[in-house]
């Protein structure tokens, strides 16, 4: 599903990632872990096309993302769901509108959008809350809305950058359980985190980075 061949990423003289070669299989649940500045977010950014490797090759579902032109990004991102630490919800749009955005951008008919949104809100435990606005929700609820948006178009891969970073213990576990259930349906899940307790409670393969190098796979 995901293959990196000797990927290096430099910002000027600073190497954020150094000579990374790793493979993540389809349907796998994998942590990207390490201290702050280890290169976790940089790796995720390269996976969703926000950054290009300075050297090396990055394949996602057989597509060489490292050479993908800007016009190819929309197609890449429609096949993946992305979750951020700060949720990245549109405060002026309702929960349903936020979740439905991922379907709206691909021209899905309104009736289908409404049906799918209700279904995924049920999966994340927010059934009937579609008319509310993000600022009225708790942190955990907002992150669940972000998860719902990330999975509403059945992506083959889900990227989560510190999804529990702004959540307390109980909410963090709720979100991880949802990600786990998504993975059980066949979606490849990559979670960038430095929460050791969470990784212990939900044990999966871990890719550990330190100073931009992959030290454990």
């Amino acid at each position: 599903m995901i293959r990196l061949y000797h990927v290096t990423k430099r910002y000027g003289d600073i190497a954020a990632l150094r000579d990374i070669s790793v493979r993540v299989a389809k349907g796998e649940f994998c942590y990207i872990t390490g201290p702050s500045g280890a290169g976790k977010s940089t790796l995720l950014k390269m996976l969703y096309g926000a950054e290009h490797p300075t050297e090396g090759k990055l394949l996602l579902g057989g597509v060489d993302v490292s050479k993908l032109p800007r016009r190819g990004l929309p197609a890449l991102r429609r096949n993946m769901g992305i979750i951020f630490q700060d949720f990245k919800l549109i405060d002026s749009r309702t929960v349903a509108e936020n979740v439905g955005l991922a379907l709206e951008v691909i021209g899905t008919p309104r009736a289908t959008i409404d049906r799918r949104v209700q279904a995924v809100l049920g999966i994340v435990g927010l059934r009937g809350r579609g008319g509310e606005y993000p600022p009225t929700l708790s942190g955990g609820e907002q992150q669940r809305v972000a998860v719902a948006r990330a999975i509403v178009n059945d992506p083959s891969i889900l990227l989560a950058d510190e999804p529990t970073g702004n959540l307390d213990g109980g909410m963090a576990i709720e979100v991880m359980e949802i990600l786990q259930s998504i993975n059980l349906r066949g979606t490849t899940v990559l979670v960038a985190t430095h929460d050791a307790g969470l990784m212990e409670r939900f044990p999966y393969r871990s890719l550990r980075f330190e100073h931009g190098r992959l030290v454990q796979s």
Binding site: R71, P74, R78
Partner: protein
């Protein structure tokens, strides 16, 4: 394929949510078009005046003193038959003397001293409007040159200077118009960019979930068209108001003696201004969104 309904709905929502900024953009377009419209009104009327003067430009061909009366009439008829000639009038020495006496004070004794045939007979020739250009007039005058005429006069120097002045005015106007247009485009683009910037979080999220540039841009183009539409309407109404003010105030104050009052712009100009306003709004929106899309992926 994104439905028009989706795009219209998003554009309408954005127009409403950012009413103040959209109104500002419309006002900038209105101001630019109003400036341009005032300039065009002045130039349109100036051209109309010049057309009148052009029609009045004529050639004076002064007969040699040895040319007989019959020969003069023959030449008159020959000139009158030429297609570029609108009118020919024979001016005898006596007619010329009367004309001069009526316009120049105290010239009578001088003319008496010189004798009754002091002033030469001449042909006063008016050309058709299409021939009232410096080159055409010069060519016509050159064609008349010969032993029958002592001098062919058509105010050459004045015509050339006046046309040079008009050309300069038109060039200045074109440059001014272009500068106003460019300034307006950047002003509106920066105003629209504020709207785009205000929504940058939303637009970044759209990009992250796979929105194409078309999906992101289309509603902004519609918003730009709406800004242009409103701006154009405001400008045309303002232009009408300014025109009425100028007609009432200027004509009395300056005693211009114009043939008729200051004309308002014809429909073709007004439609052009209207379309320019809409185009300005769309172009400004396009530039602003493109600037945003070229930033962080």
């Amino acid at each position: 394929m994104h439905s028009l309904q989706h795009i219209l709905r998003r554009a309408a929502r954005s127009l409403w949510e950012h009413l103040y900024l959209n109104a500002m953009a419309a006002l900038v377009i209105a101001a630019a078009l109003l400036l341009l419209g005032v300039y065009l009104t002045v130039q349109f009327n100036l051209n109309a005046i010049v057309d009148t003067w052009d029609r009045d430009i004529h050639v004076s061909a002064y007969f040699h003193e040895d040319v007989s009366q019959d020969r003069r009439f023959v030449l008159r008829d020959q000139v009158a038959a030429r297609p570029e000639v609108a009118q020919v009038r024979y001016v005898s020495p006596a007619d010329a003397r009367e004309w001069l006496l009526a316009r120049v004070d105290d010239i009578g004794p001088v003319l008496d001293e010189l004798g009754p045939d002091a002033l030469p007979a001449s042909l006063e020739i008016s050309l058709v409007p299409t021939q009232a250009t410096p080159d055409a007039i010069a060519a016509f005058a050159a064609s008349l040159a010969g032993p029958d005429f002592d001098d062919i006069d058509y105010g050459r120097e004045w015509i050339e200077r006046f046309n040079a002045f008009l050309s300069l005015l038109q060039l200045l106007g074109a440059v001014l118009g272009a500068l106003i247009g460019i300034a307006a485009l950047f002003l509106v683009a920066n105003t629209v960019y504020l709207i785009v910037y205000n929504r940058k979080d939303e637009l970044e999220i759209q990009k992250l979930v796979g929105a194409t540039p078309t999906f992101i841009t289309a509603p902004f183009l519609l918003e730009g068209a709406a800004q242009g539409l409103l701006g154009s309407i405001l400008a045309l109404v303002g232009l009408w108001g300014v025109h009425r003010l100028l007609v009432v105030r200027l004509q009395d104050a300056l005693q211009l003696g114009l043939a008729g009052e200051l004309a308002f712009l014809p429909w073709s100009y007004l439609v052009g201004l209207f379309l320019l306003g809409v185009g300005l709004g769309v172009a400004a929106s396009f530039l602003s969104v493109r600037r945003f899309l070229a930033s962080a992926p």
